[in-house]
Amino acid sequence: MMRLAMPVKAMVQRFAFLMLVALGTGLLIIGRADIALTERIRTTVADALAPVLSALAEPLAAGRALAGRAHELFRLHEENARLREENARLLKWQEMARRLEQDNARLRQLLHVTVDPLTSFVTARVVGDTGGSYVRTMLVNAGLRDGVQKGQVAMGEAGVVGRVAEVGQRSARVLLLTDLNSRVPVMLEGSRLRGILSGDNSERPRVEFLPGNSQVSPGDRVLTSGHGGVFPPGLPVGFVASITDGIVRVQPFADYHRLDVVSVVRYDLPRPVAEGEAPALPGRR
């Protein structure tokens, strides 16, 4: 009896193993075809483990902050002097911005300009990165129930980080500007030339589809152009870092390695008002 049972058991095990390999291969093929199923599997798992990840990420961020603070303590004096100077400079800018804001509002009123739709933020903690795979994404601990939706833009302190690519109930995946599949409509600040910022997994994504013989120089600021209606226009993205053989590369303002929190920007494009849906006026029914 035993002599018979052993080979049968081994055969069953071998068969089960082959089934697993086939299942893995099948999943890869299905995922390549980009079916919603794979996304649902991902977001379900991410939702389940996001609380654990955020519980682990928090002390990590605190530790990093502590190390940063110790470093700052040593340079308190010069930092103070620098900030004082910067503060004086910024106060002048603030005065100017106020004046310009009033000016702008008055001129817009005169010209009946359509105002950009209101934007609001959802702040989320970065709880995971890619763990050694060949993608450039990060996992954040806010999802549908917090108002995050697919396609929204994630901002760091300094500039655009990426776009929300997948969203679950309480977690979302942000596709970074540097990822192979990232495409963002941008413009150069000075010349208003438009192009597409496309990632190639290197640290510096490149600008494609700029008009021929356009004048670009290193240091030019790059902003979102708002084309396609996904990103609000005018968000800071980065600056032109190098131009070699006609390839323009951009250094993103966002520092991916020090990102603890991101703001996901809600941006609702103005849509035509449907009949019978009059815009609500304040103080009236």
């Binding site: 095990q13 089960a16 193993f17 697993l20 390999v21 299942l23 893995g24 291969t25 099948g26 999943l27 890869l28 299905i30 995922g31 390549r32 794979t38 599997i41 991902r42 379900t44 798992v45 991410a46 483990l49 654990v52 990840l53 682990l56 990420a57 990590l60 990093r64 970065v126 709880v127 995971g128 990165d129 890619t130 763990g131 050694g132 795979s133 060949y134 993608v135 450039r136 994404t137 990060m138 996992l139 997948e166 995946r173 192979l180 599949n181 190639d200 997994n201 390695h257 020090r258 990102l259 603890d260």
Partner: protein, 170 residues
């Protein structure tokens, strides 16, 4: 009651390697804030599956390795099914070679791991390149492999302690 307690302990024992695996997957995903580190993060889950596959395959069968890989794929954002396939294959290789590996000393075990990890890194690199139709920098695979091999002794030692403390039968 001692019967129930014993059964609970047995259950915990059987679950321990999988829990180790999940903990390592989460550890690998944490944002450490070091430049470029996340792209060469050691393949910690491969270490776990190799160790248990060689020394205690009864505690982490192929389907459990597959499930661990699926969790890793879902969380890392990589191709779904890739790590599942890799971990199942690693488990299969370990079980088939365990008669040779389990009896030998640490250096042989480590060398065997270097081979397996090299195969895994190469497999991940080539499937990712095919999947995204983009030739990724092979240096990333190489760096990842080197870091994985260096991370092995520390983790293997941890597993060994855990095995001695709580997983010995009886």
């Amino acid at each position: 009651m001692p019967g129930l307690l014993r059964r609970l302990r047995g259950f915990g024992r059987r679950l321990a390697p999988s829990l180790f695996g999940i903990a390592l997957i989460l550890l690998a995903l944490l944002p450490f804030g070091l430049p470029q580190f996340s792209s060469v993060m050691p393949l910690l889950s491969v270490i776990a599956v190799y160790y248990w596959g060689v020394y205690r395959p009864d505690l982490l069968p192929a389907w459990a390795a597959f499930a661990l890989g699926l969790v890793e794929d879902a969380l890392s954002g990589g191709p779904l099914g890739l790590m599942a396939l890799v971990l199942a294959l690693v488990q299969g290789v370990c079980v088939s070679q365990r008669r040779f590996l389990a009896g030998a000393g640490f250096v042989v075990g480590w060398s065997g791991f270097a081979l397996v990890a090299g195969g895994a890194a190469l497999f991940i690199w080539s499937v990712s390149s095919l999947y995204y139709l983009h030739l990724f920098d092979p240096r990333q695979a190489l760096a990842q492999w080197a870091l994985t091999v260096f991370a092995y002794p520390l983790l293997a030692w941890t597993f060994l302690l855990a095995e001695r403390r709580m997983l010995q039968p009886g």
